[in-house]
């Protein structure tokens, strides 16, 4: 009887289904937990530990990992992040736990996050500025240092802005110079030469004050310095302008720790990367990913919807339609790197190359559109996701009841009017479902991008204040590629580990946000659909 109920009544099947569901849920939750746990810890301030070794050597830094010592079974070794790469040549040292004689968390130790060479750990000596010298023991020291760091950051920002303006002034000189050289027709050459002259005069007129200010800024930057003693009693002079953050980690109150944690996250989300992407922020990658997904959506939705409408509403159900559907289904299964190769050959070389020959011949052989860029990457992904949109749209079109179509026809609506005013509005939720799936797929795709325009460090965002504002030919950064690059291609993989997990978390969050956006849009449309005018 037992067996009967187990199999005939499907109890075994029910348990199996429940177990499978539990397993799937567990895997998803596990993924989210691991990523958010590691990423969540990444920016939490770690105490600065000073270790005295049996050899008499002293080490100052953050305890990074603890693991069994492969050279000395049964014992533990610690990986200590000691920073000071410019002084010692390395970021990390291994310390055998057994060799540690004394361990303390010195209150005088500071962490300096710098724009170059990574972190510096040490004991500050004195702050030298044009206003005077303040020793570290002085009560005014923390406030004065914070003010100096702030001022230094402003100076650095001003330097960048000055360089940008000088670059913008010089850009037309380069452009018309190349045109004058490349022009084949004499008339065009003369035009280019005249434009080059104008650009030169313009530059000569406006550049000198900027250059003077630049020199002054650079002098000011060097004026304010800080002496720091390393744990090995070496005295180093640090330019305060190169310091992003100065923190006496071991004396922080809990509230200050939270503040530091949040400020690091903010920097991560809003700043540009530094130090071969292992430090700083990932803003260009977030921006690039989002913009690419938007461009892809604009390309794939019209293409997919028109295709589905043709297949479902106009094409007769013959061999050809069946073949097209089969081809589309197979297209969805093609490995994405194949799409990347196609995008490179077709979009970049064929289409982009032709555009260059037709419209940008003056600047050849330097390619404009004939090289990877955000437009080509978006179109490649649009191609990749077209089957998803077509299938979902077709399902949406098939869900429109025949009675509703008949109703429209019986009122004298033409086939196009029926499609436009009744069928398509009815199918909109289906179309949006397809869009959601396409967005989710495209946001996480990396392989095709590597061939069609993603780079590890883009000099400029594809959207900025200089006309034509949206620079479709520019290369861009992408979160998925950033994870790969920082995690596997970086010169300092160990130091970049927290960045990898934090970037992963941001990518997941971005996909979720894009999906929620599309889902809420669909919900609103559904409500509108059932309420009033479509």
């Amino acid at each position: 009887m037992m067996h009967r109920s187990l199999f005939k009544e499907g109890i075994a099947a029910r348990w199996l289904a429940a177990a499978a569901l539990l397993l799937s849920l567990g895997m998803v939750l596990g993924l989210l937990t691991v990523v958010s746990a590691v990423a969540g810890r990444a920016f939490w301030p770690k105490p600065l530990v000073q270790l005295e070794l049996a050899s008499g050597e002293k080490v100052l830094g953050e305890v990074w990992t603890r693991e069994p010592d492969p050279h000395n079974p049964g014992h533990e070794r610690w990986r200590i992040k000691t920073g000071n790469r410019d002084v010692t040549g390395q970021d990390f040292v291994w310390v055998a736990k057994a060799a540690v004689v004394a361990r303390e968390e010195p209150r005088g130790a500071w962490l300096f996050e710098r724009s170059e060479y990574g972190n510096f750990y040490g004991f500050p000596g004195e702050l030298r500025s044009p206003e005077g010298v303040i020793p570290a023991g002085d009560d005014r020291f923390p406030a004065a240092l914070a003010a100096a760091v702030r001022e230094g950051r402003q100076l650095m920002a001003e330097e960048r802005a000055l360089l940008d303006r000088l670059g913008a002034l010089h850009a037309p000189v380069v452009k018309y110079g190349a045109k004058a050289e490349g022009a084949r027709a004499e008339k065009r050459r003369q035009q280019a030469v005249a434009a080059l002259e104008r650009a030169r005069r313009h530059e000569e007129e406006l550049a000198p004050p900027l250059l003077a200010r630049l020199a002054e800024v650079r002098r000011l930057v060097e004026d304010t310095t800080l002496t720091v003693r390393t744990v090995a009693n070496q005295e180093i002079t640090v330019a305060v302008a190169g310091v992003v953050r100065a923190v006496p980690v071991n004396t922080l109150t809990p509230a200050q720790r939270v503040g530091l944690y949040l400020s690091r996250w903010w920097e991560f989300l809003s700043a540009e990367p530094r130090e071969a992407n292992t430090e700083g922020g990932i803003f260009p990658a977030i921006f690039g990913t989002a913009l690419m997904v938007f461009l892809m959506t604009f390309a794939v939705v019209p293409l997919g919807v028109v295709t589905a409408v043709y297949l479902n509403e106009y094409a007769r159900g013959g061999v050809f339609t069946r073949a097209v559907r089969l081809a589309l289904a197979n297209l969805a299964g093609v490995p994405s790197i194949v799409f990347g190769a196609f995008g490179l050959a077709f979009f970049v070389y064929a289409v982009g190359g032709s555009i260059d020959r037709l419209f940008f011949a003056d600047t050849l052989p330097t390619p404009t559109f004939g090289t990877g860029g955000i437009l080509w990457a978006s179109l490649t992904l649009a191609l990749l996701t077209v089957p998803v949109v077509v299938v979902a749209t077709e399902e949406g079109l098939q869900s429109v009841p025949d009675a509703t179509r008949d109703g429209a026809r019986a009122l004298g609506a033409t086939r196009w009017q029926t499609l436009r005013h009744v069928v398509l509005p009815y199918a909109t939720p289906g179309i949006l479902t397809g869009t959601i799936l396409a967005v989710a797929r495209a946001a996480g795709e990396v392989a095709p991008l590597m061939l069609t325009g993603v780079v590890k460090l883009a000099p400029a965002l594809p959207l900025d204040g200089t006309p034509p504002y949206l620079h479709l030919e520019r290369k861009f950064m992408h979160l998925g590629f950033h994870i790969y690059d920082v995690g596997f291609q970086s010169p300092n993989v160990e130091a970049a580990k927290p960045m990898v997990y934090a970037t992963t978390l941001v990518l997941l969050a971005l996909v979720v946000v894009l999906n929620l956006l599309a889902i809420s849009l669909r919900a609103r449309l559904r409500r509108r659909l059932s309420r009033s005018a479509v």
Partner: protein, 254 residues
Amino acid sequence: MTGATAALRTRSLLAGFGRTAVLQAIDLTIPARQITAFIGPSGCGKSTLLRCFNRMNDHLPGFFRYGEVLVHGRDAYDPSFPLEELRSQVGMVFQKPNPFPQSIARNVSFGPRMAGVRDEKVLAELVEGSLRRAQLWDEVKDRLDAPAFELSGGQQQRLCIARALASGPEILLLDEPASALDPIATAKLEETILELSREVTIVLVTHNLQQAARVAHRTAFLYLGKLIEEGETAAMFASPREKLTEEYLTGRFG
């Protein structure tokens, strides 16, 4: 019956799908401004015949037709008679209410809008007039912008009638319009139909013999694709000429 009062007429109409003839040589004349009911067992061809009058069969796979269908004397299948014009002259209401997922007002104004009427004032007048004729105005006048799906089944069906009326048809085809409605909604619908028959020719397909007896001025009985008997409803129900009709009316089959 004279041709002058005939709203619809078929001459040796033979129609079907693929290799099956559903209608076999139907000769029928339907007088104007009366209610004519088509009765007969399932599959007898009532709906196919009805759908020949506004060419709704044309979209179905494998449909074929021989013989003539005349709408006010004009051949419905004449290529020079635009389909859209035919359908605005011959309105149709289906078995199940099929409002569009739009507001009540936009449902009613759909036909005129598709025909090119843009003037909002004209459309608003058409909406009110059509809803009044369909006896729905008093129930919905305060919520014309509400979704049509919020109406009850009977109201939805009267909305579909109003929607068909908005195009200004002289003929209205009703394909079992009450089969999805409860008795009260059915009674209300029948009242509406009777009222409408003063100005519009109505052809009603029904399974419900009592309904035919209640509302139809004339009744046509179809069986296996043939027109068995046609005449005044009261006369036919009282003393059918054909034995088949008598058997069907007395519930011997069907």
